[in-house]
Amino acid sequence: MALTDLITAFLLLGSLGFFLAGTLGLLRFPDLYCRLHALTKADNLGLGLVVLALMIQSDSWQVVIRLLLIWLLVLVAGATVAHLIARKAQQDGHQPWRR
């Protein structure tokens, strides 16, 4: 029991790091495309770790499947929305940031 709790705590801490990184990127990156990149990648991973942590804690396989489904749906939706935002930005003539 203690071991699963330890793993959960570890995973949650890890996810926290990813979320922090993603949020930092969202706030600090220079243009829209970079921000999208930071947000989707880091946050999806962070959410994955949270889901994993919850899976370890759950006591029935139905809950595990549901959690997995949630993560997959968020991945798909997040990717599509990021794509749509980037596409619209490109159509509106936003130039990618150059150093």
Binding site: L73, V76, A77, T80, H83, L84, I85, R87, K88, A89, D92
Partner: protein, 328 residues
């Protein structure tokens, strides 16, 4: 316990701060986005208060559908504050009433209420016990569903009426316009819709079925379905013209009319409004929830589209003035 209290405090402070920020923000698009975030956090607050049904409804209806409505409205409205015409001078009374109301009335009322509530110790046990006792004869196994569909079904009937009435009002105001430019559909979105639509239908059915014994039910399920319909509209599906007449109206009205019919039938047979026969209560509630879900889904989606379908009775309107609804 202490930890939970800290969580509550953080949640509530965030909610109040969000409400203040979104109402004070100078950019309305930003305000709408913050409002959606506010709705999601509010759903969390409902969970903390032990009201998961309300949380589901808030996430689906409060944040989801209201957010879609606001974004579409903003796309059509524009965010600048325009005046036209001369502004006449305010009378003395009007001049006086605003600061009095805002500066004195609101703070004092809130303060009195807050002070009184802190003294108020909740002595009543609520109606939970009564609901639990009567749950066996209600035809469902979930307290909230029993209250909605049986104990206070008259409220629910009238509320279905309000929904239908809202749609009739919307149709009386405007003709439907496309939500977006037709040539602008991303293949990515189409793919997502193909993937999500079946899942959404399954989830809606699941939420509806779950309402019998756990949080869920017609509203939440209908809201999910209507999100599916909106997604389908976004990737370019349209209702065939021959289905935009009576059959669409039937779909929109079926939830309310079946409820009315059940009310009339129970009134005829038992002299009491909406007193379901004991043996039929379960199946009647199931029937009512099924048709309600279908109607709610159609009504909410139609409300977002925002206007009556083009028909022979009304004048043709200029369709080139279509405004792009989706903003980024």
């Amino acid at each position: 316990m202490e930890l939970a209290l800290i969580f509550d405090l953080i949640l509530l402070i965030t909610l109040i701060a969000l409400a203040w920020l979104l109402l004070a923000s100078s950019d309305i698009f930003r305000a709408v986005v913050l409002f959606i975030a506010f709705g999601l956090l509010l759903a969390l607050a409902w969970v903390r208060l032990g009201a998961p049904d309300v949380a589901l409804a808030e996430a689906a209806i409060g944040a989801g559908i209201t957010g879609a409505l606001l974004l579409v409205g903003l796309g059509r409205l524009g965010s600048a504050e325009h005046y036209r015409g001369t502004r006449t001078r305010l009378t003395f009374l009007q001049r006086l009433s605003a600061p009095v109301l805002i500066g004195v009335m609101i703070p004092s009322i809130s303060l009195i209420l807050l002070l009184e509530l802190s003294l108020h110790a909740s002595a009543t046990p609520g109606q939970q016990g009564l609901v639990n006792v009567l749950l066996d004869v209600s035809g469902t196994n979930h307290g909230v569903t029993a209250v909605l569909m049986n104990f206070r079904a008259w409220d629910t009937l009238l509320e279905k009426g309000v929904l239908l009435l809202a749609l009739i009002s919307i149709w009386s105001l405007d003709q439907a316009r496309p939500l977006f430019r037709q040539n602008d559909i991303s293949p990515q979105l189409t793919g997502l819709a193909r993937l999500l639509l079946p899942i959404m239908i399954i989830v809606a059915g699941f939420v509806l079925w779950q309402g019998d014994h756990a949080p869920g039910g017609a509203f939440q399920s209908g809201a999910i379905l209507s999100a599916g319909i909106l997604l389908a509209i976004l990737v370019g599906y349209t209702l065939p013209t021959r289905r935009q007449g009576l059959s669409l109206r039937l779909l929109l009205a079926v939830g309310f009319s079946v409820f009315l019919l059940v009310a009339a039938a129970t009134l005829l047979s038992s002299d009491y409004l909406l007193k379901y026969p004991d043996s039929l209560a379960g199946s009647l509630i199931l029937l009512l929830e099924l048709v309600a879900t279908a109607s709610i889904a159609a009504l909410l989606a139609a409300a977002v589209v925002g206007g009556h379908p083009p028909d022979d009775l009304s004048k043709p309107v200029d369709r080139s003035s279509a405004v792009n609804g989706g903003q980024t």
